[in-house]
Amino acid sequence: MAMVKMTIDGRDVAAPEGSTILQAAKSVGIRIPTLCYHERLKPIGSCGLCIVEVDGSATPVAACETPVRDGMEVVTSSDRLFCMRQEVLKSILVHHPLDCPICDKAGECLLQDLVYEHGVTGVEAPAPSAKFRNGYATAFLRSWPERCVLCFRCVAACTEIQGHFALSTVEGPDGSPLVAYDESKCVSCGECIQLCPTGALVEKKSERRWRNWEVEQKVRTTCPYCGVGCQQLLHVKNGRIVKVSGVEGAEPNQGRLCVKGRYGFDFIYSEERLKTPLIRENGRFREASFDEALDLVAGRFKKIIAESGSDAIAGVSCARSINEDSYQMQKLFRAVIGTNNIDHCART
């Protein structure tokens, strides 16, 4: 690939032709503040936070959208840029409610972080305004249209990544853009939530259940439903999963999940879970200890083998459980019981 030579903040940088200033800066560890940009999306260019100065020109450009050029001289931080970024943030805060104390995103909100970083204070928010043409709520997600910063990541998530086209950008009454939601197309995949940088979209299952910094652990695991094998992060608080998100950058799903992978986790906490072995007696189940139930099964199997041979026992393994369980079950059947009568729903 052809490389172009340029400087960023006085450092020599070689970047592949066609890449953006933002990518070139990142490759040498220079951070440019961004809000609407997300690695998995094509540049949106809606927020104006990633502005940088190029070749001393008076009008800064958006680093996320501007391609590199040979000989380019880029400055990513200056007093002027800092002030301009402050202005961008102020213009957002003017329409943004001071919801941080009750917002689920607080603690990992990009807007919060940027405002903090740029020391923006004293903004009066006369009238938080709804940035959605129509707010939305499904069984799993809810929008807070005032909290939206109109970055349009959610629209790109829904169209570009998931291909559902439930979210779109429309022109509002005063000509400025708004987010529109078409419920009939939404499949509750939650991609829009995963990519929203603010608390404008929240998950009902976890709404106001905990603060982000109370999550003790994020456990990477594999989805228990279909054969795609999506990688999930289980957010655990007090030993309970409170939320599931897709693992950014992971194979095979690159952060994506579907409705079952994202919201189908709470069955494990159902009150109806089996908690003790059961033994049938006089037509009904009674609770038993593991020792008693294991002895009974082993005893019955031995008796059947002695009377009718090993092939009088058969077993069906589980296509949902871990490999090690299936391995162990076929080993029990082959090495201990002495039969190949072991199958599972392999062909369905």
């Binding site: 069984a139 291909g163 499949v187 509750s188 299952k205 695991t221 594999t222 228990p224 439903y225 279909c226 054969g227 795609v228 094998g229 990688q231 194979e251 994506r256 999940l257 409705v259 079952k260 919201y263 189908g264 986790f265 709470d266 069955f267 494990i268 879970r273 089996l274 908690k275 033994i279 099964v297 082993a298 005893g299 019955r300 090993s310 009088a312 026992i313 058969a314 077993g315 069906v316 393994s317 589980c318 296509a319 459980s321 871990i322 490999n323 090690e324 369980d325 299936s326 162990q328 079950m329 076929q330 082959r334 090495a335 002495g338 039969t339 190949n340 072991i342 199958d343 062909r347 369905t348």
Partner: protein, 516 residues
């Protein structure tokens, strides 16, 4: 280019479908063969709404065109395959004009489709249970492979034949040897040297050499008492097998059933002993996905009450039957047994699975894993073999009494018999009941309204269910899922099986609908 056959990806493999959509938005072509006009058809270049169960006829006709118009991949066929002459002889009996009647697709469209397929390389074929769940399921698979070899689309990245596996770990359960004819890693039980290897590793004198029973045979064996003890781990057979009445009769006849599960199910009702098991996020272990990727599963919370990991329960039973197994965690089982005994996993150890897992075959610890199989036209058995096959109709076809064909599958918001998704807050709100999906034409002919309760009846049973009138379904067809017990499609489905794989024909049986 993609060719998707018998696969409602946006509902059954949602995230995989998003990548396919991305490719189509970036210009890739998509051809769909499916009786239903499902969501992918909206973005497809071409959708061939073939009749249920006519896949082989259509595939043979496509190959007829490829050969008679001489637009197949000569080089691939000559150097990488055997059996072309038999294939040619067979498909010559399937001119598009003849097949048009069988599959309901115009001959001109069949020709056009063949030309499109030949014009682009590679073409990736994805299929799901619309191919396998037929009495001719095995032949369907062979036929798809024939097409791809004829097009020279094997052993290429973005080519090949890609079955999308239904369950998260159905690939893994096969790989682990939970099959009646193979040990872990597809090593045959009939091979004496292999048996000897496993006998040594497992500390036993010998291992059984006769392949065992498959599920339908086991169930029948319960009635004849050929099978006296039946161990059901995690499967809800009473809802998932075709013809629920028959299955329940079989389970009720059993002498001794052990169930191991996380919930009481319709199946545990027939058990004599039930073991409570640890679920998904209460285990450490591995799943293997459709793309043969071994991924880690990690513990987030402890199982409730006395519930235990499944591998632990099996180990305890073994111990009580006189076998002490050394491995005492999933990691020990994998690292010290599975990956030692199965050559394709020798390079896969837990320490190597921290991030993105590994795709088998992975024969040694320096091997990066294998993204796609049959590279450069190399097949496990040497050359790729064409297996010429004839089309056969489903075991039960519509007639005067049962004039419609019922096909079944799953829907987005639930998974199988809902033991899990039915207990997740919210999912029942999105899909709270089963429907029978019927065409606009059939609905209006019978005067059935959207949402009206109707009766669907087959020779095996009947259910009462709401009608969902939809353009997705073609006239003459009813489509249902098996998520809800009360009107589960398996009250109706036909326990007819592919003669080799014993996969049931969930995708086709004859039914009639009645107004209440």
């Amino acid at each position: 280019m993609f060719l998707v056959i018998g696969s409602n990806m946006t509902e059954a493999h949602p995230v995989a479908s998003t990548f396919l959509k991305n490719a189509v938005f970036n210009g890739a072509q998509l051809i769909v063969f499916d009786p239903r006009k499902h969501k992918l058809c909206d973005i497809a270049t071409l959708h061939l709404p073939l009749k249920v169960g006519s896949d082989i006829a259509l595939l043979n006709a496509l190959m007829h065109v490829l050969i008679s118009e001489d637009i197949y991949d000569h080089k691939f066929v000559e150097f990488c395959t055997v059996g072309f002459d038999e294939l040619k002889a067979k498909v010559m009996n399937y001119p598009p004009e003849r097949v048009a009647d069988i599959c309901g697709i115009d001959a001109g469209i069949i020709r056009d489709t063949a030309r499109r397929l030949a014009a682009v390389k590679p073409v990736m074929v994805c299929y799901t249970l619309g191919i396998t769940e037929h009495t001719c399921g095995r032949n369907n698979v062979l036929s798809v492979a024939n097409l791809q070899m004829l097009l020279g689309n094997m052993g290429l990245e973005c080519g090949g034949v890609n079955p999308l596996r239904g369950q998260n770990n159905v690939q893994g359960a096969c790989d682990m040897g939970a099959l009646p004819n193979v040990f872990p890693g597809y090593q045959s039980v009939t091979d004496a040297a292999i048996r000897e290897k496993f006998a040594q590793a497992w500390g036993v004198n010998d291992l059984p050499e006769q392949p065992g029973l498959m599920i339908p045979q086991m169930l029948e064996g319960l009635v004849t008492r050929q099978v006296r003890g039946f161990y059901i781990f995690g499967e809800n057979l009473a809802n998932t097998e075709p013809d629920i009445r028959k299955v329940e009769h079989e389970l009720a006849s059993a002498e001794f059933i052990v169930c191991q599960d996380i919930f009481e199910t319709e199946t545990t009702r027939f058990a004599h002993v039930v073991f409570p098991a640890a679920a998904w996020s209460e285990n450490d272990g591995t799943f293997t996905s459709s793309e043969r990727r071994v991924n880690r599963v990690r513990t987030a919370s402890a199982p409730p009450g006395l519930a235990k990991p499944n591998w632990w329960i099996f180990k305890q039973i073994a111990q009580r039957m006189g076998h002490d197994w050394p491995s005492d965690s999933a990691q020990e089982i994998w690292d010290n047994e599975v990956s030692v005994l199965a050559p394709s996993y020798m390079g896969i150890k837990y320490t190597r699975l921290e991030n993105n897992g590994l795709q088998w075959p992975c024969p040694n610890e320096d091997h990066p894993g294998t993204c796609y199989l049959h590279q450069n036209g190399e097949f496990t058995c040497g050359l790729g073999r064409f297996n010429a096959v004839d089309w056969t109709p489903p075991a039960e076809v519509p007639d005067g009494e049962y004039p419609l064909v019922l096909s079944t599958g799953r829907r987005l918001y639930h998974y199988h018999t809902r033991t899990q998704t039915g207990r997740c807050q919210g999912l029942n709100d999105l899909l709270g009941e089963e429907t029978a999906d019927i065409s606009l034409q059939d609905a209006s002919a019978m005067g059935i309204e959207q949402g009206e309760k109707i009766r669907v009846k087959s020779r095996r049973g009947e259910v009462t269910v709401k009608a969902r009138v939809t353009p997705e379904v073609q006239p003459g067809m009813v489509w249902m899922a098996f998520h809800f017990r009360e009107n589960c499609s398996n009250w109706l489905t036909n326990p007819a099986f592919d003669p080799v794989t014993l996969t049931a024909e969930y995708k086709a049986c004859a039914v009639r609908i009645e107004k209440l």
